[in-house]
C-alpha cells in the first residue's frame, strides 16, 4: 500500500479502512475531478476531447484485463472479443429500437423516453459477461498457457468468425453498422459529439475505478488475489476456485461490455475491425506498462500508450507509414518496460508520492 505523510498516524480501524485516509488526499482527488468535469470539456478542442475519449475507452477496456490478470492471475489475450460483443449488442439494440420505433409500442416507448441506449448498456454488460464465462470455462481444467490459448481462440472465433460473418448480417446493414450522430440518447440527452461522449466517459471511468478499488477489498476480491498468489493454497483454505475464477471472468466480461457500449458513442459506426487481436494485446500492454495489479496503473498505462500514438502520428513520415510505426513503438515500449521497469508506471508514481510524503525525512 502507500506510506502516510510524515507525522500522520491512524487512530481507528475506520480510518485505516477509509477510501481516502487523509483530508489532503480527498481534497486532491476532488480538485482533479472538478478539473476533469468542469474545466477540461470547455477549454479543450474537439480533437483533444476525442483523444481523451480514446484514453477513457482504453482505461475501461483495460480494467477488465487488469481484473483478470492483475487480480485473479488468469492471463487473457482475447479481451477484444468481449468488448466487441458489448459494442455489437448495444449497437444492434439501439438501432433496432430506432428502426421499429414507429410501429411497435415497446420499441417506440424505449426510443421516445431515451431509454434504449441505457438499457442496451445493461444488456451489453450481461451478454458480454456470459460470453466471457463461456470461454472462461476451460480455466477450471487448465491454467497458464492453456488459458491464454483459449482466450486467443475466443478472439478469433468471436470477432473474425461469428461477428464478421454472421452478426454483421443482422438487419441487412452490411459489414459496418452505421450509427448516425444523435441516434444514441440517454433520457433527453443526445450524445451527438465528442463533448457529450467525454462526459459519459468520465462518469463511467470514475465509477469503474471506484468499483475496482473497492472490489479488491471485498470477499471475491480477496479470493481472486488468493487464487492469483497460489491457487492450490487458496483451495486448501476453502476458496471455491472454479466459482471465483468464473466470477472473475463474468466481472471482466461486464467491464468489457461497458467499454464496448461506451465506445460506439464516439464512433460513427461499429465494424469488426475495431476489435482485432492486436487490441487485446494492446490492452495487456497497457496494464504491463501501467503496473500489473494496480488500478491506477491501468490509467497511467492507457494515458501513456494513447499519447505515444498521438506523438507517433505527429511525425510526417510516420503519417504515411503510420501502422508500422505504431507497431514498432508499441513493441519497443512493452519490451523496454518489461526489461527496465517491470513494476510499471504505477510503481514509479508510488515512489514519487512517497518521496513527497516523507520529505524531508526520506530515510524513514
Amino acid at each position: 500500500m502507500f506510506r502516510l505523510p510524515a507525522g500522520t498516524y491512524f487512530q481507528s480501524y475506520r480510518q485505516a479502512h477509509s477510501f481516502w485516509p487523509t483530508r489532503f488526499m480527498a481534497f486532491r482527488m476532488i480538485v482533479l475531478l472538478i478539473v476533469l468535469f468542469a474545466v477540461v470539456p470547455f477549454t479543450f478542442s474537439n480533437y483533444a476531447l476525442s483523444i481523451a475519449n480514446r484514453i477513457g475507452y482504453t482505461i475501461l477496456a483495460a480494467m477488465g484485463v487488469q481484473l483478470l490478470i492483475g487480480f485473479t492471475g488468469q492471463l487473457t489475450l482475447g479481451h477484444a472479443a468481449f468488448v466487441a460483443v458489448g459494442a455489437y449488442v448495444s449497437a444492434i439494440f439501439t438501432l433496432t429500437a430506432a428502426d421499429n420505433a414507429s410501429f411497435s409500442p415497446f420499441w417506440g416507448f424505449l426510443t421516445q423516453t431515451g431509454m434504449a441506449y441505457p438499457l442496451s448498456i445493461l444488456l451489453a454488460c450481461l451478454i458480454a459477461g456470459l460470453w466471457s464465462v463461456l470461454f472462461g470455462l476451460p480455466s477450471a481444467r487448465v491454467k497458464g498457457f492453456g488459458i491464454i490459448l483459449t482466450t486467443m481462440a475466443a478472439q478469433f472465433i468471436t470477432v473474425d468468425f461469428v461477428i464478421a460473418q454472421y452478426v454483421s448480417q443482422i438487419g441487412g446493414r452490411g459489414h459496418y453498422f452505421s450509427i448516425p450522430p444523435g441516434s444514441l440518447k440517454i433520457g433527453g440527452w443526445a450524445l451527438t459529439g465528442d463533448r457529450d461522449a467525454y462526459f459519459l466517459m468520465l462518469i463511467l471511468v470514475t465509477g469503474v475505478t471506484v468499483a475496482m478499488i473497492n472490489w479488491k477489498r471485498t470477499r471475491p476480491g480477496r479470493a481472486w488475489i488468493a487464487i492469483r498468489d497460489n491457487d492450490i493454497a487458496a483451495e486448501i483454505l476453502g476458496v471455491d476456485i472454479v466459482r471465483y475464477k468464473l466470477l472473475a471472468y463474468f466481472a471482466a466480461g461486464m467491464l468489457a461490455g461497458l467499454a464496448g457500449s461506451f465506445w460506439i458513442t464516439s464512433l460513427f459506426f461499429v465494424s469488426p475491425e475495431h476489435f482485432v487481436w492486436s487490441n487485446s494485446l494492446w490492452w495487456v500492454g497497457v496494464i504491463l506498462i501501467g503496473g500489473v495489479g494496480a488500478v491506477d496503473g491501468t490509467i497511467f498505462g492507457a494515458i501513456f500508450l494513447e499519447l505515444m500514438l498521438v506523438l507517433v502520428n505527429s511525425f510526417a513520415v510516420a503519417n504515411i507509414l503510420f501502422l508500422y510505426f505504431k507497431d514498432i513503438a508499441f513493441g519497443l515500449a512493452v519490451i523496454l518496460f518489461l526489461l527496465y521497469e517491470p513494476n510499471g508506471l504505477s510503481y514509479r508514481w508510488w515512489q514519487v508520492k512517497n518521496y513527497f510524503y516523507l520529505w524531508p525525512f526520506s530515510y524513514k
Binding site: L75, R141, L149, A154, F161, G285, L288, G331, V334, I335
Partner: protein, 295 residues
C-alpha cells in the same frame, strides 16, 4: 473421392511446413519454458531475407536459403541475448508479453523495410507446370517445401540424438538442475534453441512465400503453429511434427467441405476452435507431459 485425395495431399504438403515451424516453437518451449508468440514474425523475417537476396542481389536460390539461415541464426542469438536472457525466471506473463512485444516490433520493422505488397520470387524458383500423379495435381513448390521440410526434420532429429549440443539440449529440457550440475551451459542451450527456431521458421516462411508470393499475411502462420503444438502436447518433438501435419490436413478438409455449409473463413478459424476443444478435453495434448502440481 478425387477431391478428398487432393485435399489430403495438399494438407500434408502444407502441414509439413507447419510441422517445421512448430518444431522450432517446441524447441524453445522445451528447453527454456518460453511460450513464444512471435513465431509468425520469425517466418516473415527469414522469408524476406531470402527473397531479397534472391531478387535484389541475384544470389542463387540454395545460397539465398543458406544466407537466410545464417541471418536467422544471428538474429536468434541476438534476440535471446538482448531480450529473453534478462527475463530468465520471471513470471509467465512477462515472458509471453515480451514475445508479443517482439512480434509487434518485428512486424513493424518488416513492414518498414519491405512494405506490405505481395512480392514473388523472380524468376520463379519452382516451375509453374503442375506434376500429375494419377488424378492428383501437385505443384512443384509444394513438393519442394515437403522435401525441404523432411530434410530439415531429419537433420534436427540427428542433431538431437547424435550430437553433443543436441544431447545437452535434451538434458536441459529433461532436468535443468541435473544438466547444470553436469556442466551444461543453460545459456548456451537457450541461445541455440532460439537460433534454431529462427532458422526453422525462416525456411518455413521461404516455402510458404514461394507458393504464391510473400506478404505480411504469411505471418498468420505463426497462429496456426499454436494449435499444432497444443495438439502435439507442447513439449514433444514428434508431437509437434504430427500436430503440424494434422492441422494442415484438417485445415484443407474444412476449407473443402465445411465452407459450403458454414460460409465465411471457416478455414482460418477451424484450427483455433479445434485447439480450444482439445484444451478442454485433453489439456496435455497427444504426447505432452502430464504435470502434477504440489503446493
Amino acid at each position: 473421392m478425387e477431391l478428398l485425395l487432393q485435399l489430403l495431399v495438399s494438407g500434408i504438403l502444407v502441414g509439413s511446413i507447419y510441422a517445421l515451424v512448430a518444431l522450432g516453437w517446441t524447441l524453445i518451449y522445451k528447453s527454456s519454458g518460453v511460450l513464444n508468440l512471435a513465431m509468425g514474425e520469425l517466418t516473415l523475417v527469414g522469408a524476406y531475407v531470402c527473397l531479397s537476396l534472391y531478387n535484389n542481389w541475384g544470389v542463387p536460390f540454395p545460397v539465398a536459403v543458406l544466407g537466410s539461415l545464417v541471418m536467422g541464426a544471428i538474429l536468434g542469438l541476438l534476440v535471446e541475448r538482448l531480450v529473453l536472457r534478462p527475463l530468465i525466471g520471471k513470471p509467465v506473463l512477462t515472458v509471453i508479453m515480451v514475445t508479443v512485444g517482439l512480434s509487434f516490433l518485428l512486424r513493424g520493422l518488416v513492414g518498414l523495410i519491405w512494405g506490405t505488397d505481395t512480392v514473388v520470387f523472380d524468376p520463379p524458383v519452382f516451375p509453374a507446370e503442375p506434376i500429375r500423379i494419377g488424378p492428383l495435381i501437385i505443384s512443384p513448390v509444394f513438393l519442394g517445401g515437403f522435401v525441404a521440410s523432411l530434410i530439415l526434420l531429419a537433420f534436427f532429429v540427428w542433431f538431437f540424438q547424435g550430437t553433443r549440443w543436441g544431447l545437452a539440449m535434451q538434458a536441459t529440457a529433461d532436468d535443468q538442475m541435473a544438466a547444470l550440475s553436469l556442466g551444461v551451459s543453460a545459456k548456451l542451450v537457450y541461445a541455440i534453441a532460439w537460433a534454431i527456431a529462427f532458422m526453422a521458421a525462416g525456411v518455413g516462411g521461404i516455402f510458404l512465400g514461394s507458393i504464391n508470393g510473400l506478404n505480411i499475411s504469411v505471418g498468420h502462420l505463426g497462429l496456426l503453429v499454436l494449435p499444432a503444438v497444443v495438439l502435439g502436447g507442447l513439449n514433444s518433438v514428434p508431437g509437434a511434427i504430427a500436430g503440424g501435419l494434422i492441422i494442415g490436413v484438417l485445415q484443407n478438409l474444412t476449407g473443402g467441405y465445411l465452407d459450403g455449409f458454414i460460409p465465411g473463413g471457416i478455414k482460418d478459424i477451424f484450427p483455433l476452435a479445434f485447439m480450444a476443444v482439445i484444451l478442454l478435453f485433453k489439456p496435455y495434448g497427444l504426447w505432452g507431459w502430464v504435470k502434477i502440481e504440489r503446493v
